[in-house]
Symmetry: C3
Subunit: 180 residues, 3 copies
């Protein structure tokens, strides 16, 4: 592994450097503060930077979104305190989804078998009615089917079936069945 050989020139950030820098300013002013900024303001700002966001969306404090222009959120979705959405690739969150405190949606990885440690990004998709509980980690390429529940602290590296309950590290479907 030779990080000096790392070449990120093939990665599309999806926006001009100037606009991205402006996003950094907006994020520092409206998303970083501990004092609660109204969700309506944050949703408007995210839309101004290209996010596609529905109605009734609640965004708590210190939510960190890398690229809003790669984020799509449905209706009636809640994003909790200190959630980190590393949206290097598209992150799509359907309606009626709750992402709890300190969860981390991570679209980025590296090809650790290549000497130059290539950046690998894969989309994350979260279906209708999912609950990503506190401290959960969702890895690149994960597709949570409708109604999936990721229990607190779950480290989710694989996609789920509808209504599954995932827990543990690495997260596995709970044998006792589904939510339905």
């Amino acid at each position: 592994m030779r990080l000096d050989l790392f070449d990120n020139s093939g990665f599309s950030r999806g926006i001009s450097s100037r606009k991205e820098a402006l996003w950094w300013v907006i994020r520092s002013l409206f998303f970083a503060p501990w004092f609660p900024v109204p969700s309506a303001i944050k949703v408007s700002l995210l839309r101004m930077f290209g996010a596609d966001i529905g109605r009734g969306v609640v965004i708590r404090s210190r939510v960190n979104i890398t690229f809003p222009w790669k984020l799509k959120i449905g209706d009636h979705v809640w994003i909790g305190d200190e959630v980190l959405i590393l949206s290097l690739a598209p992150v799509t969150i359907a309606s009626h989804v709750c992402i709890s405190q300190r969860a981390f949606l991570c679209t980025g990885s590296h090809d650790f078998r290549k000497e130059n440690f290539d950046l690998v990004t894969k989309p994350i998709t979260i279906g209708i009615g999912c609950w990503v509980a506190a401290n959960v980690f969702i890895g690149p390429g994960v597709n949570l089917a409708n109604g999936t529940l990721c229990a607190a602290g779950a480290v989710v590296m694989r996609s789920s079936q509808p209504g599954q309950i995932l827990s543990g590290n690495p997260a596995l479907p709970r044998a006792s069945g589904t939510r339905a």
Copy 2:
């Protein structure tokens, strides 16, 4: 699951909106900074907002407490950097307890089998001489008996017996016995 049907009107925040907003200001000024604010100041502020706190309590930086008026702490307790205490229900920490960096005491959950995703809150109780190590998650309703040790990164969803050592995700008592 229909988050538009969520009805939180039955939940008692335990304080007026005006006082809660004042707490947000205080928290932003004295608890959010990376620069260390003396514990004595933070303890005084927490008491002003209804927390019941003993002597010799150390509170590090970026400790986030949702509702101080639902928090009770004994004597000689340490709360580490970036600890998150989501005290929607009472959180009671006995004397001689250490809560290490990035631990998360979480009293809130949801009834995920109900369509309206009802908020469910349950108290957390931490007994004398417990150590909640770094990155530990403590779920709603958990009662740590005296002398419990939660090893770093443990995801604790069940109550413990005195002197148990819990580790893993989900956390289980270590077979090799207790601390005593």
Copy 3:
């Protein structure tokens, strides 16, 4: 366990109180902000406080380093957003290492079998070409041999062999072999 008996007088912070307070100011100004401060500035500041840092080192935002004067970093190393390096004892990171977002390198622990809860600190060493992925916890005394990969969310309490892939909580070597 009696935290009132805790005696930290034997622990060497390795710097004068005045210089440590100055570090707190610098950290608040240049490391805490969400707005990206150029790595070159942060590297220069760390060196001014005694860190030994090579070329081509990238340090992202909200990276929290307790004692820079106990930190040694080689060439072409990346430290991601919100990484916490609790360097109470020496932390040595070799060249071509990637420490991803929210990882926590923790050199501090306590002797929980002693009534006075003695502070115990042990160095952490990370070999050439290691990848400590997102949300990983590395405990005191851990020595990651060259080429070790700690998968996202791994709770690493033991040292590794060269090229091992560690995952889970507690982290174990993956049976399917090594990176090479």
